[in-house]
């Protein structure tokens, strides 16, 4: 994981009897998933819904930007790097320029530190390597709960 601006460097997990304790999502957080791969879209959607999150999915960065431009709001935006029409880095820059009040997190297959750093520099709060996992979602929920 690469941490972004102002982010804590420690990952706090609640362990109960060796299992990860799921963070309560009684805040009804909403998530926008931007990824062009239908398999990744479906997996992200199902993983997030298992945590009780409300999920909307788009297939490119432009659709993510347009949604926010026309008033949609999300607590969390999970964004892939490589997408057609508008990629994740460009979309992130646009979302930041618009002043969206969302945690913007890159979820990419790119595993080299310099590639992730380049993506981070577009304005991400965090950047994870695929696949999206329960512990990553738990971490993000903890961050969202802190901010709320």
């Amino acid at each position: 994981m690469v941490l972004g601006k102002g982010a804590s460097s420690s990952l706090s997990m609640n362990k109960v009897d060796g299992a990860e304790e799921m963070v309560d999502n009684s805040n009804n957080f909403t998530v926008l998933v931007a990824d062009d791969d239908p398999l990744i879209q479906k997996l992200h959607e199902m993983h997030l819904k298992k945590f009780g999150l409300k999920v909307q999915v788009v297939e490119n960065g432009k659709k993510a930007v347009d949604l926010c431009h026309f008033g949609a709001t999300f607590n969390l935006i999970l964004i892939d790097k490589e997408m057609p029409v508008m990629d994740g880095a460009e979309a992130t820059k646009e979302l930041q320029a618009m002043g969206v009040n969302s945690l913007i997190v890159g979820v990419t297959s790119r595993d080299s530190p310099y590639e992730k750093q380049a993506f981070m520099e577009a304005g991400l709060d965090y950047c994870f390597e695929k696949p999206l996992t329960a512990d990553k979602i738990n971490f993000l929920l903890q961050e969202l709960n802190k901010n709320n």
Partner: protein, 149 residues
Amino acid sequence: MVGTTLSEQLNNHIQTMHDQGILDHHFDHVKKLQNEGNPQFVVRVISMFFNDAETGIAQITSFLNSDDVDFAKTINYVHQLKGCSSSIGGQRMALACSELRNACDDRDKQRCLEIFERVKQEYSTLQECFNTISQMERTIANETGGRQP
């Protein structure tokens, strides 16, 4: 395996795939997403993976077979292949994709071709594994008459 139910056989098959390193825990997470509301989720996801993988492999084949390899575009598809294989728990295939990415970084066409053969081999192994899982899942679904665990 007298007295072993099909569900037990499926679990044993998955465990064998784990033991051989073909699958990792990400597949277990995917399986846990299947529920009564989505009884054929695993079969559906496997099918989507096959589509993704075959498209990616075809594209990479085309790029690597050209005289002047566009390594940047090849890397994009390699990452896509790595992403979908790792997301579904195809551990060995994802690792092979990582190695292929490194070979592309070095712009070493010969090494790329060698490692790509391994990627295709791992895909073939994974495909066989997933076909067995899909078949078992469908049979279990039919036997439970639409009532899914």
